[in-house]
Symmetry: D2
Subunit: 356 residues, 4 copies
Amino acid sequence: MRCSVTRVPMASPSDVKTLRTYVDQAAIHPDEVIAVLGKTEGNGCVNDYTRGYAVRSVQDFFAGYIGEKARQISYVMSGGTEGILSPHLTVVSRNPGGDEARKYDRKSLAIGVAKTPEFLPEEIGRLNQVEQVAAAVNRAIHEAGITDHADVHFVQVKCPLLTTEQLQDASSRAVTVVTEDTYKSMGYSRGASALGVAIALEEIEAAGLEEKDICQDWEQYSSVASTSAGSELNYCEVIVFGNSYSSEGPFYIDHDVMKDSIDADALRKLIAKHEQDELVQVLAKAEADPTGYVRSRRHTMLNDSDINHTRHARAVVGGVLASVCGDPMIYVSGGAEHQGPAGGGPVAVIFKRGMK
Amino acid sequence: MRCSVTRVPMASPSDVKTLRTYVDQAAIHPDEVIAVLGKTEGNGCVNDYTRGYAVRSVQDFFAGYIGEKARQISYVMSGGTEGILSPHLTVVSRNPGGDEARKYDRKSLAIGVAKTPEFLPEEIGRLNQVEQVAAAVNRAIHEAGITDHADVHFVQVKCPLLTTEQLQDASSRAVTVVTEDTYKSMGYSRGASALGVAIALEEIEAAGLEEKDICQDWEQYSSVASTSAGSELNYCEVIVFGNSYSSEGPFYIDHDVMKDSIDADALRKLIAKHEQDELVQVLAKAEADPTGYVRSRRHTMLNDSDINHTRHARAVVGGVLASVCGDPMIYVSGGAEHQGPAGGGPVAVIFKRGMK
Amino acid sequence: MRCSVTRVPMASPSDVKTLRTYVDQAAIHPDEVIAVLGKTEGNGCVNDYTRGYAVRSVQDFFAGYIGEKARQISYVMSGGTEGILSPHLTVVSRNPGGDEARKYDRKSLAIGVAKTPEFLPEEIGRLNQVEQVAAAVNRAIHEAGITDHADVHFVQVKCPLLTTEQLQDASSRAVTVVTEDTYKSMGYSRGASALGVAIALEEIEAAGLEEKDICQDWEQYSSVASTSAGSELNYCEVIVFGNSYSSEGPFYIDHDVMKDSIDADALRKLIAKHEQDELVQVLAKAEADPTGYVRSRRHTMLNDSDINHTRHARAVVGGVLASVCGDPMIYVSGGAEHQGPAGGGPVAVIFKRGMK
Amino acid sequence: MRCSVTRVPMASPSDVKTLRTYVDQAAIHPDEVIAVLGKTEGNGCVNDYTRGYAVRSVQDFFAGYIGEKARQISYVMSGGTEGILSPHLTVVSRNPGGDEARKYDRKSLAIGVAKTPEFLPEEIGRLNQVEQVAAAVNRAIHEAGITDHADVHFVQVKCPLLTTEQLQDASSRAVTVVTEDTYKSMGYSRGASALGVAIALEEIEAAGLEEKDICQDWEQYSSVASTSAGSELNYCEVIVFGNSYSSEGPFYIDHDVMKDSIDADALRKLIAKHEQDELVQVLAKAEADPTGYVRSRRHTMLNDSDINHTRHARAVVGGVLASVCGDPMIYVSGGAEHQGPAGGGPVAVIFKRGMK
């Protein structure tokens, strides 16, 4: 197996011009693409249709090459390019190679994908979602040929949210949902997904988790989960990024944890640790510290009724990480419930060996 | 002369509780206060009333100690604490000392203040404003006892904007204004003020400046100007920060220029250069790069009709600088027209000798 | 007793110029003022400081005439002048007259005010708040000399919300609050206050109300409650407007209920019913229909992450009512939880006899 | 010729479920569709991608029936469903019939469409755009078989705006554009388009119009123009709605002019005038009064830096018109520069004879 990632700038949510150039130049092979992570320029909240628009544009593009198989690609669009963040795609490819059982003498980037079943509105943000995500993560780890949890460095989950229509549906069936607030449902769905990752990776114990802990007990978290909610799906997409002896090629991944939103050292240390290699992409999560303070100073993100706090947080973390790596075209997604410590979040880097 | 600055956290635009504590503890002497710079938690744009509310609260507070003299203090409130920025006051004090003519053996922080006359709506954002600001800067430099332009490291100007009421007034007198757009008028007023600073400091030539260059020719700029527009005044307040042999005490100031909004090195170098001294306050300007690109990557700040670009820019620069100095309670003001190079801006640091 | 209301336009949250003119002209007597209702131009949500700024400005103004007694006036500022709504004050005055026991031959405008004790964060949005408001409403009704609940036509309550600081306080004392979401706490506080009015007026039965009904069971509501949340107080202010034989003078009040946000007929009928009299002020509540539909058509207010739904709702109801009465300077407040039927709300009109 | 319009609710910008039902039920014949007007749920400003997403979704839908001919349909999506406005499509169909020269004994709805050539950035908002739109309107009138300008009741123009990319292009070619502000360019483009309509219909004289009058001299306007700017095209689409003896069928159109945004009487009179007929669709324009006042009361729309004034204005006019016709699924588009008098705008109604 041979995995790679390629970043592709977008001029708008429907722009595939550079993507086409890359395919024409054989930098991307449509039949090898297994996932596409995107940063799109909407508000990243409930009514962000740039995510669905980008999925449609990119899927239609690949359908021109591989037909119906374009539907099997995992599309994970994260809305919100506040501040200097630059809209783009991260195209993830996997060439299965000839001999699946073959082991190489060093670990390289290995990627697996999986989906959960569809959720009913009343299941979103609850233990059922946690469990289904945990199961999907395990399937994706297996598919990636990863045998040690320590080799998993980033798990991206795209999860659903509750729209007004779904709230109506639940209400008509007299079932209760985790929240009646559409924006807030994004947090519960992200939180439940992240806890699913933590359970699959044995970062926390399934037995110790209660439903009321979701979005409440911030001590329970995953250091590698990155979850993103959107209205364009009603199941979860899971993409596991790790290193494996079953994979070859120049790419590999490593991660660290930002302890708060201005913790530039997390990324600086990762880059220093692999200074001989080229940084290919940064993947990180951002959130407003739920205490209302960063380094003992009051912040105003949680009380701001004009700009949602996830938007503030992406602007900050995007700026901080770009100031370290020198590139604003990175993947920073908002809402880090149970993803890293409260107020902080995971940061992963994909490197290419000996390219610098 | 002996100048000092003290940072005071605010819990809201009307909060003076910590300020009172500091005065009670004699950390601040009301009769020595000459200026108050504040970061308040409004939108930093046209309808940001947190600036006026904070001015009123702080002025009323000082009036309780020094009566009518509280009106002579320069109040410069900059709205917008996006991201991790923390609302606070920077209280600037000056003790004239006994002998005005005395020279010390090293330069210390020296501060001067001045005001322009009031402006008519049609003068805002035009050459008249440029000239009046230049004259006021010269008066403030003189007052500060600074004799060399190279010793001026930060010039804060609070300037007016055009409100709908003023546009009506201009229209009723059949005079034209620089723009009919209230938000846009903030940029013109900031730009004209910055060019006034540049002329006073001979960074550019008065003779070479035409009215049409304002907010157009970004090659003409000041490396130490920081200008901020608000609807709570219709003249300009100028505060000059520099170093002078006429001043004594532990404080001094230095500056550098951020070449773009993620240029963390500018502040890192300043801190390294003065590593033995304590960082007391960071003063910086932020703006969305007018080219639409940062480090060759497209940003979306200028096309965002939900969040004004000055808000995005403050979130980014605030995060980047706080990640370097470790403190979110810093002064980052938005809209850097003619303040540093396009997309970048000045950053100044006030240090206290031998305190670290 | 003789009660009157006077509308005063404001040019900004701190503007008292017209108010001063009215006092100078003896149209308003500061020593008779018992309440001031204001519409201020903030976002009407959590971080709207225009409310506190206006309270301070108006209170300081009256203090210039009546000193400490200015603190006893009830100030109820409602933020949000979306669309055509025009910032203004409604100054409510009461002259006690000579003989309190005297009865007139017709009912006239009678106004009573009362306050609840201060609330702890954990009491907000819960039964305790309901009960305290009910008790305060009864006190205010008594003070107004109103003997029949049918004579109560509008009950304005200003209530607190949960800020991040209060959430911290509750958390530090290990008590749970009704919601961790500051914006959402406004709804709970408004809802509990409105149910308190409904209980006081026997529109619903106290015995039948459970804590979980608050912001859940929309069948329980008051037809005359108008409640408004703000961060500038931590108790509730109650102002009862009704008609009483104990009052004299040309003013009286009547009300109807808007069944949804475009129900222009409610106001049209009120005006027609009293066509010989002058309309002095309209007082109404606005909310986004919680079903997500208005007249069977989907609306997008509840899914909008850029503009809070209370802001949309005020713009609509303000426009609809102004199109009927021809005047945009009316009091329309957002968030009508348990105030009129779901999606609708009360509308009251103060008239002046024979002035048209 | 036989023209008809059908309204189709949308559950999201990509929803074509109801559209499919209508086509399945033969209520809409894809090969007869000549134009689709939509209200989509974005911000209606620069970065509103719901317009392009809806165009793509609807065009792809029709392509499934009529292939490449789906591209010839005029798609005019207007963003912004503030307040109670409900997202939907207005599908406009035309059956050419057998004998083009045939005249009927009464006038019926007649629709014509036309496009301008593509514009360079420097042509947008200038006289060139005015002239090209005027020429296109004349072609569309001719196509509709309308012989008298008084029979034209609504002219919808979809026009381009200046994006950051286009500003870059202009800058790189050293040409100046009408404004460097992307949001503001929408107003210039709408204004120039409306003046093009006014010239074609001889409401104003081409000879009397100077470039500086665009978005300046509000006395020059069209009473039937409705123009809408978006980033998804760089030419203008024109759709003329009128009545003609060359058309048959039950539909016809009439119009009036709202003198300000709360002028409910304009629509009330139209409905009363045709009370025996069914109201099929309302088409109207909304804008914030540029004087800053509505009925002598100050409004705050133009000074609001959180919500663009076009959004406020749509919420108001949508609410006012829906309160008259009882239906929130109407077409209200924002930004009425040179479309009706300043602060007001045209309102047209399509009726169906004898259906009520």
